[in-house]
């Protein structure tokens, strides 16, 4: 498959994932349980700057729990117990006394879109305003850029003042993506972002993600193995809370795997 966006990125001077630099995320022995019921078991992995890191696996494999731990979302849910360590940019995320500052650098998109009960414009301007951007012109610029990247601008540019929560499901999902981008994050966590989005729009967003790789790091949890194949530089396979396989995406899909369960899942024999 010819990867136009990636080639364009390379042409623009983007050298690809920074595997020779220290990783942006270092996860060590990460275990997660909900009221004692384990969801993720001693996962250790590194994620490098400027890569799209894919996570595949069937339902209940711990993919979403992994993402939630990266953002310290366990603070929202008293039932969620996290052990092990996660370092982002070399700093343990539990050492951030101001967890809000940590989260403001991480964009998150979940499978079910959440349009805030604000206007489309205010949804996207929310995070820039938190950063202290006050000037209307500057905000306008951010809003337009983020909505364009999320492939939503053309549909909403004439009704930026209508409520974000009244958009259709697919539009709300793209609004959520625009909102995550408006944080100008260093890290973008996507959890099955394309479930509520039609295939054509999904492709447009996927192209944007490939471009974004030159600016940030993306962790992509997906149920669609082919989406991981299209996008991810490296892919991890989670099964029942266990990290079964991790490696370069081509290798996984070419069958160069350590565990035959990986091939079984990729080829659709179970899951």
């Amino acid at each position: 498959m010819v990867d136009l966006a990636a080639e364009a990125a390379v042409a623009n001077g983007f050298p690809g994932p920074a595997y020779d630099e220290p990783p942006i995320i270092e996860v060590r022995d990460l275990s997660i349980a909900y009221r004692g019921k384990p969801a993720l078991d001693k996962v250790t992995l590194d994620i490098h700057r400027h890569e799209i890191f894919g996570i595949i696996g069937p339902a209940n494999s711990g993919k979403t729990s992994f993402l939630r731990a990266l953002n310290r979302m366990d603070a929202f849910n008293t039932a969620m117990e996290v052990s092990g360590s996660i370092r982002i940019n070399g700093k343990n995320i539990n050492d951030w006394r101001n967890e809000y500052a940590l989260r403001s650098r991480i964009g998150v998109v979940f499978p079910l879109p959440v349009g805030l009960p604000l206007t489309v414009y205010e949804n996207v301007a929310f995070s820039p305003r938190l950063r202290g951007i006050r000037k209307k012109a500057e905000l306008d610029e951010v809003v337009e850029r983020c909505l364009t990247r999320a492939a939503l601008w053309d549909e909403v540019k004439d009704r930026l003042d209508s409520l974000g929560s009244l958009l259709s499901g697919g539009q709300q999902q793209r609004l959520t993506i625009a909102r995550a981008l408006s944080q100008e994050p260093e890290l973008l966590l996507l959890d099955e972002f394309s479930i509520a989005v039609d295939p054509v729009t999904t492709m447009r967003i996927e192209d944007v993600l490939k471009e974004l790789r030159s600016e940030l790091t993306i962790v992509l949890v997906t149920n669609l193995v082919q989406q991981a194949r299209r996008l991810a530089d490296r892919t991890a396979f989670f099964l029942m809370g266990e990290l079964v396989e991790i490696g370069a995406t081509e290798d996984l899909f070419e069958g160069e795997v350590r565990d035959k369960r990986t091939t079984g899942y990729i080829e659709g024999r179970f899951g």
Binding site: M73, Y100, R103, T176, A180, Q183
Partner: protein, 289 residues
Amino acid sequence: MFTATPLNRRSYRNQSLAKAVFFLMTVVLVIPVLLIVGTLVVKGAPAISWEFLFTAPTDNMTAGGIFPALVGTIWLVVVALLASVPVGVAAALYLSEYAPDNLLTRTINLAIINLAGVPSIVHALFGFGAFVLFFRMGQSILAASLTLAIMTLPVVIVATRESLQAVPQAFREACWNMGATRWQTIRKVVLPNSISGILTGVILEVSRTAGETAPIMFTGAAMFVPFLPESVFDQTMAMSYHLYNVATQLTDVPEELTFGVALVLIAIVLMMNAVSIGFRVYLRGMKKW
């Protein structure tokens, strides 16, 4: 095919029976309300006039109007609101948005529910002991209003907490995930979407405050004060206590006057409730998700 079995027929009959019983109970519920309002209107309406509303009682309260009581009730309600709304809303915000779900929080929640169940006469005695005697406020609007405030605090807290919790958790998480603090989330998303519900609770509190008699009779309400209160340290007449007096404590009060007082009191309460219902309808129209 397509014929009712005996089981179908029995289900249908039971369903009709259930509906009939529930309808009957609803009628039983409505009848006393209609009777009360009807009696008050028929017997009290002849007494209502501008003069009745805007002059003081005369002739040992057997004639004249109710103006000092009307003004007194407004004083009591306003001062009680000033005391209970900030405390109640802040407490509800803490309990709903900040407090971890632990033993302390659960104990506080239980205490609030219990506070709502305390009989008003007990609040009255507490208010007399605490405000009138201990804090040396004397019998005054301040002491009476604070007693009313404590009594209605649970209403404000519960109504506020419920309208806060009606805002979907997903909105909060979406904000937190963008790095918004809890307070920023409350200010920008939670409060704007629950403010109408909170106001509804406050208005219901107003109607309850206006109607209560027991908590004010030892703490600040007077049987007869010929002038209007000038500060919160004055004693005052109040509609509810005035009704109690003209109905039971005084002789020779014309029946028409008693019912007139009751009619005005219930009209205030019903008007407040109507405003509250209006808010709720408005709230439903504003629903943003």
